[in-house]
Amino acid sequence: MTEMLVTNARLVLADSILDGAVGVRDGLIRDIGEGPSSIADAVDFEGDFLIPGFVELHTDNLEKHLQPRPGVMWPSSAASVVAHDVQIAGAGITTVFDAVAVGEYSAASARRQMITTTVETVANPRVREVLRSEHLLHLRCELADPAVLDIYAPIADNPYVKLVSLMDHTPGQRQWADLDRWRQFNRDKKWTDLEFDQMVADRVAAQSQYVNRYRTAVIELARQHGTVLASHDDTTPEHVDEAMHDGISISEFPTSIDAAAHAHRRGMKVVMGAPNVVRGGSHSGNVSAIDLVQQDILDGLSSDYVPSSLMQSVFLLNQSAGIDLAKAVSFVSANPARMVGLDDRGAIEIGKRADFSRVRLIDGVPVILSVWREGRRVS
């Protein structure tokens, strides 16, 4: 039985802020009280914030560790996962869905091998034992890729695969509705006009050949295994309606305000990228997350490609957009936890997991001093 008492903290509760103390036993929150505690062994937060551990639904960060430079595959996937985990825990994330691209138009053997190895490593009990955050898997299924089902089917029943998203990055629609922007984003590839046109034509052909077929098959498999589904880059109300019809509950990174508003109205959960909040807009020229927050149609934020962006976005929303701190925190904790059915965590509440961070504001910038998961200090 482990016991811990935190005192003198600014507790960020589900809908308010309380100056007080938190008692932890056996990895769970047992007591929450107002005012300081006089118990001698208490951990004194000196007035710093105590913020629930974040639940991150979509990070691409693991792939950066598996491949630290273009063309450089790291020799040990376990070492990569451990290094990624350190970064995740240090960002205040105590539950993370590592997003693994299934397909992506380059299902060459190296990438396929990377997917298999990644899933095995994250599921390996010896590795899980030493990880700081709890790692789950989010499979990003590229529906226009002919290999998508071959890769997904053998791992669909992996117990750590808890989220599957359906994506279609064919240029000319969704995230890349604007072809010029897509070309600009890929400018390092230095396509000639001819190559560019050919590339677009090939991708559009693949889309018409594969997307519908694989969409149905992937959804069916996910349902069989009770895996939560997300729809990626919804751009039109029709995309949302299609997703609703298919029983998809999360609209991840909608690219237009129309799609986001429609999803929200129809009861889907709308998740946007925290880097979009921090940068004040989308890097691909799509809808701004802050606009969605201000229209009250946002439910969650995900760190996407910058783990530290979650904490930054929470305080930016509070300081620059006037969003209540408890509400801003709910976008990255209680709300995403509920979206994936993890009801045991995501809030500073009696009976929930003792997952939290100690955060100090220094000149308005949030600095994470320490992180606990299930009552154990992990960063």
Binding site: P68, W74, A79, V82, V130, T192, V306, V365
Partner: protein, 381 residues
């Protein structure tokens, strides 16, 4: 008095591993002994290793947080903090962030970000926002005429501690095979081989024309401030001799075994990259660091572009008896040796009187997992 005792540890000392305890008082290592501590409140590390906090003489990693994706630039202070969290997670308590001074052909934006990166490092350090101690290693690109002006703007800042001299010219040093460059340019420009060769010849002439003058100025700046100088990517015996004649005492990432042997003959210290060891060779097809190690031609290991690679490398080397580098020897290459070369004599060993910068490492299936990191006695990770 603030006291902390770690007991039940495998303490990695400068030349031995002992089972014992370490006592920390007010941020400094106060004593080491072979037994178990019976003092109440001692932390039992259950047989885990206690190593000195690592000292990384060269990481390029900050730039990755500034440019998170191609063409997506991040706020500088936030980039610095995110970088710091990864650094400390690699067991590094003192890091020399290697920042490019001057542009290469591929990265013109490097001129603009240098000052703001150093500003952010100083600010975050002064405000207590960082877990590791960050110092700056200026990587001075001598092919850029702007380099002397950029050094002049920054050299007097206290955080700047190391100067390295780099020369990135297609066909020289790290990229001594020019054919890759020509192929790439042909694809990029659509021109034929003859045209690209001609254009490249002109480019090389202009780069070389300025580089010897800039090189001279860089050396003068370093000498005036008394900073250690590293020579980067030496390929030939002449590269080493030229550097040595200029007063350079460290060869960083020599790309051939001949250059490394000459550096040793000149009593220069040799820096190598841990990623090269772990990957079993160089990304750009140059000498494998294990070959250098086998001849005793490595003194310092750095993380280069993968923050946690040093720790992995230390334990890998300890399991490769043919390289004659046991764990204390490997750890020295990433702690006391770089600390001393870079002018820090208050850290780098588990030794009474030194800073209590310590890391606790647990081995799982031979993978070193960092359990805790203390910087000056404070638990920071």
């Amino acid at each position: 008095m603030n006291e902390l005792i770690l007991t039940g540890a495998r303490l990695v000392l400068d030349d031995a591993i002992i089972n014992g305890s370490v006592q920390i008082v007010d941020g400094t290592i106060a004593s080491i002994d072979m037994g178990r501590s019976a003092v109440p409140g001692s932390i039992d590390v259950a047989g885990d290793y206690i190593l000195p906090g690592l000292v990384d003489a060269h990481t390029d990693h900050l730039e990755k947080h500034v440019f998170l994706r191609a063409h997506v630039k991040w706020d500088m202070l936030r980039a610095v903090m995110a970088h710091d969290s990864q650094i400390i997670g690699g067991g590094v308590t003192t890091v020399f962030d290697s920042l490019c001074v001057g542009a290469t052909i591929k990265n013109p934006e490097r001129r603009e970000i240098l000052g703001p990166m150093i500003d952010a490092l100083e600010y975050a350090g002064a405000k207590g926002m960082m877990r590791a101690e960050h110092l700056v290693h200026l990587r001075c690109e001598i092919t850029d005429n702007m380099t002397p002006a950029l050094i002049a703007e920054n050299i007097d800042r206290d955080i700047v501690r190391v100067i390295s001299i780099m020369e990135h010219i297609p066909g020289k040093r790290q990229s001594h095979d020019v054919s890759n460059y020509l192929d790439r340019r042909m694809k990029e420009t659509g021109k034929d081989r003859a045209a690209v060769e001609e254009e490249t010849r002109e480019l090389l002439e202009s780069l070389e024309a300025s580089s010897s003058e800039v090189r001279h100025l860089v050396v003068e700046f370093a000498k005036t401030r008394g900073l250690p100088m590293f020579s980067h990517d030496d390929l030939t015996v002449e590269h080493i001799r030229m550097a040595h004649a200029e007063g350079v005492r460290v060869a960083e990432f020599p790309v051939s075994i001949e250059a490394a042997r000459e550096a040793r003959a000149q009593s220069m210290l040799i820096v190598a990259g841990a990623p090269n060891v772990l990957r079993g060779g160089s990304q750009s097809g140059n000498v494998a660091v294990t070959e250098l190690l086998a001849e005793g031609l490595v003194d310092i290991l750095t993380s280069d572009y993968v923050p946690r690679s040093m720790l992995d490398c230390a334990f890998l080397l300890a399991n490769r008896p043919e390289l004659d580098t046991d764990l204390p020897a490997a750890v020295r290459m990433m702690t006391s040796v770089p600390a001393r070369v870079c002018g820090l004599d208050d850290r780098g060993e588990v030794l009474p009187g030194l800073r209590a910068d310590l890391i606790r490492v647990h081995l799982t299936d031979n993978i070193p997992v960092i359990r805790s990191v203390w910087r000056q006695g404070l638990l920071v990770n």
